[in-house]
């Protein structure tokens, strides 16, 4: 059996759940009292879970966003898209599996889909570099953005990466150039762009495909200028202070709405998206479809103006101007 991934903060909860499972596996027919106790325990657990997940700290949310069982881009595509055709390659160097690119249909809307793609096991994660994209991945994404624009297909992106890969070859092949060009292209794309933060939103590698006319954030997805660990090791010289730093970085879904960067927080079931993925898929499908419907009625010049204005407004500055 696959070893379960238990996050620190949910350990008490998981211990109770295990106990409950054990009790439920017993034959309680002869013991109706115990049976009612079991149900009472179950109810207590539900309350505890609700409470735990209602008040997660930013750092705890980061843990949830990285949970290995958390639904990934490919799960969303499988669940909410039909008629999927995956597209491959950047036409210049390779096919980066850390980016999923496809033509797909969501609730009757024909779209192009882009997403960071993590693996579900070690071998997949090696092939997909744990969702950390190389320049050719961003270039594949750009190719598909241009294709989408050419044929009037709206773009739906799923954000889930620890960050763009920091490696020698990535630098050699122009990681910064690829990200910058993707930002530029995405900012000016003449089709609607709906971005969904489903897990990790690690810095420039996330942003390269991670903004548009709508940004929908799952409750436990994060989006950050830098990973809390890296931030802590720079500012505190101590990666162990990640939890503390996470609270400063304004990186949760709710923070992003507050900053005017994201449009809405999509609630997750208590326990995180992986506890009830179908529920989350349904909600994402509905929200994306709504966004596509709303944006579908906007002309492409107007769409461009609005997207620019949206970006333009982000930032908080002081001013000594007269």
């Amino acid at each position: 059996m696959k070893r379960r991934h238990v996050m620190d903060f949910e350990r008490p909860l998981v211990e109770l759940e295990d106990k409950l499972a054990e009790l439920r596996s017993l034959d309680l027919a002869q013991n109706p009292e115990l049976a009612s106790e079991v149900e009472s325990l179950a109810a207590q657990i539900d309350v505890l879970r609700e409470e735990t997940y209602a008040s997660l700290s930013p750092w705890e949310r980061v843990q949830v966003s990285r949970h290995p069982d958390r639904p990934k881009t490919q799960d969303y595509v499988a669940a909410i898209c039909t008629d999927v055709i995956e597209l491959h390659g950047d036409r210049t160097f390779g096919d980066d599996e850390a980016i999923l690119a496809a033509l797909a249909t969501i609730d009757g809307h024909r779209v192009a889909v882009l997403g960071h793609r993590k693996g579900k096991n070690t071998s997949e994660n090696i092939a997909r570099n744990f969702g950390m994209v190389h320049p050719e991945g961003f270039r594949k994404a750009m190719r598909v953005m241009r294709l989408a624009e050419k044929f009037g297909l709206p773009l739906v992106t799923f954000i889930d990466t620890p960050g763009a890969y920091p490696g020698i070859e990535a630098e050699e092949r122009g990681q910064a150039w690829a990200i910058a060009e993707s930002l530029s292209l995405l900012s000016g794309l003449r089709v609607p762009v709906v971005a969904v933060g489903i897990g990790e939103g690690g810095s420039g590698g996330a942003l390269a495909i991670g903004f548009g006319d709508r940004l929908i954030m799952l409750e436990n997805a994060y989006y950050s200028v830098i990973s809390p660990e890296a931030c802590a090791s720079i500012l505190h010289k101590d990666a162990g202070k990640a939890a503390e730093v996470a609270s400063c970085l304004s990186m949760t879904a709710t923070d992003l709405v507050g900053l005017g960067i994201a449009d809405e927080v999509l609630p997750e079931p208590a326990g995180g998206a992986h506890r009830a993925p179908e529920e989350v898929f349904g909600a994402v499908r509905a929200r994306v479809a709504t966004a596509l419907r709303e944006l579908g009625s906007v002309g492409s010049d107007e769409l461009q103006e609005r997207r620019y204005a949206r970006l333009r407004a982000i930032g908080v500055i002081g001013s000594d101007e007269g």
Binding site: I168, E171, A176, I226, R312, D320
Partner: protein, 293 residues
């Protein structure tokens, strides 16, 4: 502008350009000696100043302040700063190790600048441009809301007035103390650069040491022609992050301008003394286009 003109102009402005604090080692009276970071030789500061702050022994390019960059590139007397009042606040109330407001205050004091980038209208070789220069002394010239806003306005002013843009970059990356507000400046500045490009107005960038992270991965490399100073470190991920990730030492020269040239990422590595003439000639081509001379 010829080099000797530059000398003259520099002399003329030496005691009038009070705004920008001098670079590290330069805030000493004339006649003081400084040690070259690269060859470790002792250099007479006056000689360094005459040589665009390039070590006469080894060619090492000393850091320049934003105002020294402006002085280097702009036609004498042509620069008029705008938006000097656009400054960083502390929107997140960020405190880690020390409060962001403290970092900002000390950056302002040390650099004499309100923010990490200086932007203004100027002419270069007679061409009307908007010129921006980043100053590494100001929290590593990291990009927060204010830097993002000023760079965005640089592109917008150029677009409105049909000027070219010239940006001299230096940066440690995004300013983490402003969290996601900083990250989004990458998209914002890139969007503004794209608008300029769509109107076919020229944009030249000069990458100086160091230009890393979110600044490299946004407006800095979206230029029509990308120049870099010799030996400048330019890249996305910092060398230490890469070493930690790959668990091995980086090759010598990795992420230098010369490395980038070889890997097809920049158009030319230009020694500082040749920059004004180079930028002027490039503007001649891109501003005037196919118009017959």
């Amino acid at each position: 502008m010829s080099i000797s003109d530059w000398f003259k102009a520099r002399e003329a402005r030496r005691y009038t350009s009070a705004k920008g604090a001098p670079a590290r080692g330069a805030d000493l009276p004339d006649g003081v000696w400084v040690t070259c970071d690269s060859c470790k030789r002792i250099v007479y500061d006056g000689q360094l100043a005459e040589n665009f702050r390039v070590c006469p022994s080894c060619g090492h390019h000393f850091d320049l302040t934003a105002h020294q960059r402006v002085e280097l590139l702009a036609d004498p007397g042509s620069f008029t700063e705008f938006d000097a009042g656009v400054t960083s606040t502390d929107p997140l109330g960020f405190v880690a190790a020390k409060p962001y407001v403290t970092s900002l205050a000390s950056a302002r004091e040390r650099s004499g600048l309100p923010e990490a980038v200086v932007c203004g209208r100027a002419t270069i070789g007679g061409h009307p441009v908007v010129l921006g220069a980043m100053d590494f002394r100001f929290i590593g010239a990291s990009m927060g809301s204010a830097v993002g806003e000023k760079v965005t306005r640089t592109f917008e002013v150029a677009l409105a007035e049909r000027r070219a843009v010239v940006l001299s970059t230096a940066s440690g990356g995004a300013r983490m103390q402003e969290g996601m507000l900083s990250l989004m400046q990458m998209a914002k500045t890139s969007a503004a650069a794209r608008r300029l490009a769509e109107e076919r107005l020229p944009y030249l960038s000069v990458l100086t040491n160091p230009t890393m992270g979110g600044v490299t991965a946004s407006f800095a490399v979206l230029a029509d022609v990308i120049l870099a100073e010799p030996g400048a470190l330019v890249g996305f991920a910092g060398p230490r992050v890469i070493e930690q990730t790959i668990k091995q030492h980086l090759p010598k020269g990795f992420q230098t301008s010369e490395f980038l040239l070889e890997h097809g990422m920049v158009d030319e590595v230009v020694p500082r003394g040749q920059l004004p003439a180079r930028v002027t000639l490039l503007l001649d081509y891109l501003v005037r286009g196919g118009e017959v001379a």
